[in-house]
């Protein structure tokens, strides 16, 4: 019977542990609830309008926008067509920023990875630089650059690219940390130089993941570039700011439709490319080695 008493002891301790775990979960939920309620009360007391009152009107504006778009009838698609150049400008800002940012991110990622025979003192330096670049919100940076360089798409592009270097560089360097060292060692034994080892030992291993993160970042950057239009960078954002300000519902609807569609298309295409990189036998897989 000794084994039974032992197991019932064990049983009791497991029950106690489980109860403790539940208590912790409950406390966590309680804390979150308290923060939410107190935050809401605080915000409500500072608001001029009142949240609950505003919430009732919440769907009025989108309703108006859709109504006006509907009223425009077939002419609505003409408006959509008219905004295509603005969309192209936004996509342009995003694409240039992602490519430029991705390029520098690759360099920074290689310089901040421990297992790639980088000069050790350089690693924390490039890591901190990436932290700084990541910490700057695009909007703040764009405001500053537009003030210095004037309102155009170039400062917006630089702002988005700057943030991209930090964000992608961090992800890229994490991919680098997980590589298989053996091919690199094999090339070292062949007498290959440092750049040759990176090119043939590391790059083929990391490129599929890099591409995946790169496409994801492009999608994020399209949204970021659209927002930057609000501070004077041109593209969809600038048009949106104008149409919302003037209360032109059908134009707002057209712009939002374009933005949604383009992000959806980018999302679908990048998903396809990513899947084919990981598993399929598509052209992309052959090109990207």
């Amino acid at each position: 019977m000794t084994s039974l008493t032992y197991s019932s002891d064990q049983h009791a301790s497991i029950v106690a542990q489980e109860q403790r775990r539940r208590l912790y979960s409950f406390l966590t939920i309680a804390v979150v609830a308290i923060i939410m309620v107190s935050g809401y009360t605080e915000a409500e007391s500072m608001n001029s309008g009142g949240f609950m009152h505003g919430l009732r009107q919440f769907f009025d504006y989108p309703g108006d926008v859709i109504e006006e778009a509907w009223a425009a009838g077939w002419a609505f698609w003409g408006i959509v067509w008219r905004f295509i150049p603005a969309l192209i400008e936004t996509l342009n800002i995003a694409a240039t920023a992602t490519i430029l940012g991705g390029l520098f991110a690759t360099i920074f990622a290689f310089l901040s990875t421990r297992n790639l025979d980088v000069w050790p003192p350089l690693i924390p330096v490039s890591r901190r630089l990436m932290d700084i670049m990541r910490a700057f919100p695009e909007l703040i940076l764009a405001l500053f650059l537009i003030f210095v360089l004037g309102a155009s798409s170039v400062p917006a592009m630089i702002a988005v690219a700057f943030h991209t270097v930090g964000a992608l560089g961090k992800l890229f360097s994490e991919v680098n940390e997980n590589i298989d060292r053996r091919p690199v060692e094999g090339l070292q034994a062949v007498g290959a130089g440092w750049l040759q080892r990176l090119r043939f030992g590391v790059l083929p291993q990391v490129l599929p993941n890099y591409t995946s993160y790169f496409l994801m970042r492009f999608e994020i950057n399209v949204r970021a570039s659209a927002i930057l239009g609000f501070v004077g960078a041109g593209g969809l954002g600038a048009e949106l700011r104008r149409t919302i300000g003037w209360g032109s519902g059908e134009e707002t609807a057209a712009l939002l439709l374009l933005l949604f569609l383009s992000i959806m298309i980018i999302d679908q295409v990048s998903g396809m490319v990513r899947r084919s990189l990981v598993s399929g036998n598509l052209l992309a897989r052959k090109v990207l080695v």
């Binding site: 298989d180 053996r182 091919p183 060692e185 094999g186 090339l187 070292q188 034994a189 062949v190 007498g191 290959a192 130089g193 750049l195 040759q196 090119r199 043939f200 030992g201 083929p204 291993q205 080695v289």
Partner: protein, 277 residues
Amino acid sequence: MRVIELRKAFGSVVAVKGASFDVPGAQMIGIIGRSGAGKSTLLRMINHLTPATSGQILIDDRDILTLRGKDRHAWQRDCAMIFQQFNLVPRLDVLTNVMLGRLNRHGTVRSLLKMFSREDIARALHALERLGIAEQAMQRAEDLSGGQQQRVAIARALSQEPRMILADEPIASLDPMSAQIVMTSLRQIHERDGLTVICNLHTLDTARTYCDRVIGMRAGEIVFDGPAHAVTTDVAREIYGADDSFDEGVTSTSLNDPAKASDAVAYLRPAEAAAGA
């Protein structure tokens, strides 16, 4: 090649305690010993993958351990290395993997753009043909079996046009059939190209079958150095530090019994000599 008092310490642990041996001409040498006896460290020091703590390796009266930068890379090209885990680039095709053996002969810029010459391609294909895997040239290295991958690694070593080949446990992760193919290939390279081949092995019969000379290591020291046929059971016990219960038959991976295997090699050698002549 002369290895003089080669020593490697990792912190307070001494992996190789002053190893010395001469390689007067082209030889096929098997290094045997327990795991952790310092075999791998010894080979890695010769290739410069692991820096030596002290000692000298003289080749043509030049101490290769003092080489730095470009000279060091050139030496690594001259002494090709084969690994237990093959160390190929898995996502690249077999042909490219073999051509990577020529990286050291190319300028950095040209090689980074993956521009290999017609001659490089021909040489790589020739090496693959020699190892009987030319048909797999356009497949990805990762899609091949272990035995095939190891043959690709040997082809890469050949494309380096090395002066010697170091093989660190080349057959330890292969099945017996693949192991035989790999060891025979190494033996043929030794005989046909006149290259010194130094092999870390963990089975005695493989060392006796394919090597002319056996070096036994125990706890970082060379405890035996002599012709392969001189490795008796007593010598083996000394190398492995085992008692009378030690029976090499238990760990043997040969397909047939040792006597027959050595017959096969005895047959191979005159045939190879005739082919080479």
